[in-house]
């Protein structure tokens, strides 16, 4: 039994996104979707977070920032790539400055494609991430290593 799934706290980072997915992430916090029903809180502080939501593709400028935030989150943690840009680079994939999806820099557990990703699919992605979080916690208790999870395990 783990309480991680009952109180997942989120930190959200915008990796050169067009803000479309960011607005949808924040929409999930509004009264219409109200993710606090499930104990989900947008903390804004990586040290308090369990789930790392990333939107947008990664480039040279924000690569160290993304890595830094990831490393500051205490174990166990999961990463959710939101939107097609975070998944693969999307339409910006060929740009000279874009590296591609965020899985080029940090291990990703769940991919939520879409442009922009709908709040429903974001919530679905987070719920999928909760299952992986519980598994990681179990692995931690058994003394195994928790990272990196296999890329593309979620969907």
């Amino acid at each position: 039994m783990t309480y991680l799934t009952k109180s997942p706290w989120i930190v959200h980072y915008d990796c050169s996104s067009c803000n479309g997915c960011d607005i949808e992430v924040l929409a999930a916090l509004t009264p219409v979707y109200d993710v606090e029903r499930f104990g989900i809180i947008n903390t804004g502080n990586p040290k308090h977070a369990d789930i790392f939501l990333v939107t947008g593709s990664v480039n040279e400028q924000n690569k160290p920032v993304l890595k830094n935030i990831y490393e500051q989150i205490p174990e166990p943690k999961v990463v959710v790539a939101i939107g097609i840009c975070a998944t693969s680079g999307g339409i910006f994939r060929e740009c000279y400055n874009v590296q591609g999806g965020i899985d080029k820099v940090i291990p990703v557990d769940v991919y939520v494609p879409g442009c922009a990703a709908r709040p429903e699919s974001i919530i679905d992605g987070v719920v999928t991430a909760l299952g992986i979080l519980a598994k990681k916690r179990q692995a931690m208790q058994e003394g195994g290593s928790t990272t990196p999870a296999k890329a593309g395990e979620g969907r």
């Binding site: 009952k6 109180s7 606090e36 029903r37 205490p74």
Partner: protein, 293 residues
């Protein structure tokens, strides 16, 4: 009269065991009511307990090892302050232990190298400056009415303290907003999903350390609401009703105001609450002969 030793020790132990449960429940109801005020469904009432149990399952990332001890001291002194209060001890000693525990939290935040944590610590100090005089004046006011600093004697006195100290009670409610970390005075850190500059004073505490801070808050909540009880101690039913009304008003203020700058916090706490307290004490002093307290 001061109750005998076994009763006092029993009350202290009861506080140490029950206060986190009561405090956590109060926070859970608070979050539910807040959500309803915002047109949301809100988390389950037991959510604060889930949060804390989860935090104990997380890894403890520590920037400086001393942080662990500062956080532990925060919890211990907060529990001591509350236990002294509920065992009917000296109000001044309670306030002393209460302040000391907050100093440990500030030291813990200063112990990291994060500028966000430092800003949070500075703001926590400003909050202490803001509310400390009012808390002491509350004790002074209660002394002037009941002629004792012992909580046990104040709580069993039949004098309706609120009738003599309405100004001090309003002043106490103003600083209660600061102490419960509610808008508009949630400067150093904030509860619920509100964000501070990153997360203010708690920025650099992770997992179990954050859980200990949260439990300390629960101890603090019960103590602060216990002080509200003292104002109405002549009738326990009115006192409990007063606690519920006071807390509801705090939630309402939290949801209808936005955060102010620290200067305004300090001015509100010192000029408005301070004036109310001092005028109240002055009138009480002037009428001492007439009221035959």
């Amino acid at each position: 009269m001061i109750p005998d030793l076994t009763v006092r020790v029993g009350a202290a132990l009861l506080y140490i065991i029950l206060a986190p449960l009561v405090g956590g429940l109060v926070v859970g109801i608070d979050r539910k009511v807040t959500a309803r005020m915002q047109g949301r469904v809100g988390p389950p009432v037991l959510q604060p307990f889930y949060d804390v149990l989860k935090l104990f399952e997380k890894e403890n990332l520590v920037v400086a090892t001393a942080q662990n001890y500062y956080v532990l001291s925060y919890l211990v002194f907060m529990a001591v302050a509350g236990a002294l209060f509920f065992s009917g001890g000296d109000m001044l000693l309670v306030i002393f232990a209460f302040t000391l525990s907050h100093i440990f939290l500030v030291l813990g935040a200063y112990n990291s190298f994060s500028p966000y944590s430092h800003i949070g610590a500075e703001r926590e100090l400003i909050q202490i400056i803001a509310y400390e005089p009012m808390i002491i004046l509350t004790a002074v006011g209660m002394y002037m009415v009941t002629k004792t600093f012992y909580v046990g004697e104040i709580a069993t006195s039949t004098i309706p303290i609120i009738m003599y100290l309405p100004g001090i009670f309003i002043g106490y409610l103003i600083v209660l907003t600061i102490k419960l970390r509610k808008s508009p005075f949630d400067l150093s850190t904030s509860h619920h999903a509100h964000q501070e500059i990153v997360k203010g004073v708690t920025t650099d505490f992770t997992g179990p350390n954050l859980a200990i801070i949260e439990i300390s808050h629960w101890y603090e909540y019960v103590f602060l609401l216990g002080v509200v009880y003292l104002f109405f101690a002549f009738n326990p039913f009115i006192a409990i009703a007063a606690i519920i009304v006071a807390y509801f008003v705090e939630i309402l203020i939290d949801n209808t105001t936005s955060r102010v700058k620290w200067q305004l916090t300090l001015r509100t706490a010192w000029i408005i609450a301070g004036t109310l307290c001092l005028v109240n004490l002055g009138v009480l002093y002037y009428l001492q002969g007439v009221l035959t307290l």
